[in-house]
Amino acid sequence: MRCAPLGFALAAACIVALPLQAQTIAITGGMVHTVDGPAIEGGTVLIRGDSIVAVGRNVAVPDGATVIDARGKIVTPGLIHASSDLGLLEVGSISSTSERSSAGEVTPSFDVAEGINPASVRIPVARMEGVTSAVAVPSNGVLAGQASLVALDGDDLDTMLRHRKAAMVGDLGSDLQDYGGGSHAAGLGKLRQLFRDAQEYARRRADYQRRDMQDLSAPAAELEALLPMLRGEVPYYADANQARDIRNALRLAEEFDLQLIIRGGAEAWQVADELRAADVPVAVNAFANIPDFQSLGVRWDNATLLDSAGVTVVLYESETGGPRNLRYAAGHAVRNGMPWEHALRAVTRTPGELFGTTNGVGVLAPGRPADVVVWGGDPFEISTHADVVIIGGKETELRSRQTELLEKYRVLD
């Protein structure tokens, strides 16, 4: 329809593109876990264009809709990976394929977005197992930079971006200790000074420009980049594993009124009451349980203990097999005692709310972006596969470099 006023040549091109643009998809008959209310047995999810338009048991399927029969199957929101290097790293050992870090220990102005490679061969591998969005995080540094929430489909940054500058990422563990010259306490002192400098800089920009101001602990661009976090508009996504470091993070957040999210949180189960009281969520690396001196209390049921104490929990993984293992991170939490629905929420709605935009991804509800997965069975079970993966209303091809290798070598000549 939008093509009609245009010239003939362009209209011809539009006809080809039309089915993708305004497609209506009805996923019918499945067990629909909306993560926005009770599960709907035999429910329909109706998608028009890039959004969900209806979810329920009595949704009329419009004429001309593409119908996906989900009877006997499970329908969920697409999974959201809350700590990902998808698009920022291609081959682990090849530094030229890494876009994860900027030089320096305090680089809050570093925004990873323009480094994201939409053509990464790792993206389809994760997508085929139901991961539809990822928080692309910078690595290394006390303030490593800014993360973006991206859709795992699209030819360029603009089509992938769900929420640019979704979080400020930084490490309150060993990087902070190094920053403090060998002491966490000293590192925290420097960090507080940096935050105060940024606040003072914001109050006295004019003085700064006239050079009528004392030396500040970072260049103006870095201080400027900290301001949205210091105003509480952007979450502070802080790595902290040891209970002491988590408590330090809580103190820092209280002093500066930050919107803190703990990442890692190996010993968070020991601090659960304080985390709940401060309403601070924890993103838990689900498979972590090997102790080191930052995480002597690490345990597999960490997420379960936090969840049952009323702490908001996100689940992620860092397996060498790649982000496709996110669904097993949720399954692992269930294995270790977390209610199934809570584990699903921890890989969909919760990361969507923490890192996405208002009315963004993570639930199946009218008006939300249409990231939907149809599973052959329980999505956390190893025997289950994703049958249909829809991102932004578009059904993705379940095909990757790995499936091409499989087909090439399926029969040896």
């Binding site: 020991q270 349980n289 090997i290 080191d292 002597l296 209390g297 269930v334 270790n336 079970e381 040896l412």
Partner: protein
């Protein structure tokens, strides 16, 4: 079979004959006529296992689903353990006097899981420099080092692996070197010394490594290329062949003093004699083909390739050579030689008649080896490959037992085998199942319901670490 006797005997003659002693040659040479105090080092005991089977009351696990790794899945079956051995498996079994009865309703029983590739103990937690004992990265060929001389029995990763149902593992040196040293096959049990863990009579393995790691580590001094790697292996085996010949000649002639002892060549001569099994870290298909040719040049066989992410591309060659492939379910992309990994690797090997093994190489993965096997199983089935649950259980039990040269003793639930048995809360190929009880050679070494059977290392004590009951 000398294996059993090795643990218990004290007589010098038997110790000398023990495979685990591994002197340059186990047959008596002329110098063995000497008295105790004139014996040379190679004629004396060589780091002998002191493992002893714990005495335990008989156990009957009743009415469970049993994956024996030696036949079809059995429903409503019992497994009977007595004196450290499997004494009966099936639906109609006798209960030994004094047996503990375990209700297996709704539960699964499998053999103890075996990992062909672990660095537990040599890269111990908490992972500081002080525990980094896995790579003697000072020379490209260090066949003289033995992993058992690095293993720390207080590694807190040991109880975690036990709780994952692991009963036996091969602990390997790292992959920095072309030839990294001897492996140790250990029982995964709490112990004060590695000798108490060493599997009695298990043949030694030797770790070899292809590809990127050696050429990266030795870049400045060489080898710095894959052709340099190959030259390095060849040079080492040429030396070993000469060494072996010199010893053989001396044994036969008995003239004069024996040749000087060389620990590195002693290990490689053991490979040439077929006494030491080759475990070869090798990712790429083309390199595996090169290594099979190397083995032909020197007249040995490669027992198992490890990692082998491209094994599926040469699965016919592996089947033909009788070389196993110890692979991950889904690791890939962390370096160039792992770029072509696919989750159907194990299933493609299985359907080609090659021997597939799922290994961990990881203190996290070793705790979930059953789930890794499940990933490989279901990835294969989804791709339409004819692999079964009975195949997948063998990938983590019977096949690794073969790779370690212990297929007659462990790896299946068959009468007469060692009682390495895991009781699972449910289907071991489910994401939700847990090992509930782990019997290692008949000893209840882990019981999820009983803190008295949840081992802790010394390192765990007095710390926030919760142990393995959780």
């Amino acid at each position: 079979m000398m294996r059993f006797e090795c643990a218990a005997v004290t007589g010098l003659a038997l110790l000398l004959g023990c495979a685990s002693s591994a002197p340059p040659d186990p047959t008596p040479g002329p110098a063995q006529a000497g008295t105790e105090d004139t014996l040379r080092s190679w004629q004396r005991p060589q780091y002998v296992s002191t493992y002893e089977r714990h005495s335990s009351a008989p156990v009957v696990i009743r009415n469970a689903t049993v994956l024996t790794a030696a036949g079809p899945e059995l429903q409503g079956a019992s497994v009977v353990i007595a004196d450290g051995e499997i004494v009966a498996v099936g639906s109609d079994v006798a209960t030994p006097a004094g047996a503990t009865i375990v209700d297996g309703q709704g539960k699964w029983v499998t053999p103890g899981l075996i990992d062909t590739h672990s660095h537990i103990g040599v890269y111990a937690a908490p992972g500081t420099f002080a525990e980094s004992d896995g790579n003697e990265a000072t020379s490209p060929v260090t066949a003289e080092v033995w992993a058992e001389h690095s293993i720390w029995p207080q590694d807190p990763q040991i109880p975690l692996a036990i709780a994952g149902g692991i009963t036996v593992a091969q602990i390997l040196p790292g992959s920095a070197n072309l030839i990294g040293g001897r492996s140790a096959t250990i029982r995964m049990i709490p112990a004060r010394t590695v000798q108490e863990m060493k599997y009695p009579g298990a043949p030694y393995g030797v770790k070899m490594a292809c590809g990127e790691n050696p050429k990266r580590v030795y870049r400045s001094r060489g080898p710095s290329t894959r052709m340099g790697n190959m030259a390095g292996y060849r040079e080492a085996f040429i030396g070993a062949a000469d060494y072996r010949a010199a010893w053989d000649k001396w044994k036969q002639d008995g003239d004069g003093d024996p040749p000087d002892r060389d620990l590195s060549k002693e290990t490689l001569a053991g490979v040439l004699r077929g006494e030491i099994l080759v475990h070869n870290h090798c990712y790429r298909a083309d390199e595996m083909a090169q290594m099979l040719d190397l083995a032909k040049e020197f007249g040995f066989t490669i027992r198992s390739f490890h990692h082998a992410v491209e094994a599926y591309k040469v699965r016919d060659l592996l089947a033909e050579a009788g070389t196993a492939a110890s692979v991950w379910a889904d690791w890939w992309g962390f370096k160039m030689e792992s770029y072509d990994g696919i989750p159907q690797n194990a299933a493609l090997l299985e359907t080609a008649g090659a021997r597939a093994i799922i290994h961990s190489d990881d203190a996290g993965g070793i705790q979930r080896l059953n789930q890794e096997a499940a990933k490989a199983l279901y990835a294969g089935q989804q791709a339409g490959l004819a692999v079964t649950r009975e195949d997948a259980i063998r990938w983590i039990t019977a096949n690794p037992a073969w790779a370690l040269g212990l297929e007659d003793e462990i790896g299946t639930l068959e009468v007469g085998k060692h009682a390495d048995v895991v009781l699972w809360s449910g289907d071991p190929f489910s994401a939700y199942s847990k090992a509930e009880k782990v019997f290692n050679d008949g000893w209840l070494v882990f019981d999820r319901d009983d803190p008295a059977h949840q081992p802790k290392t010394d390192f765990n004590l007095g710390q926030a670490a919760p142990g393995v009951g959780q």
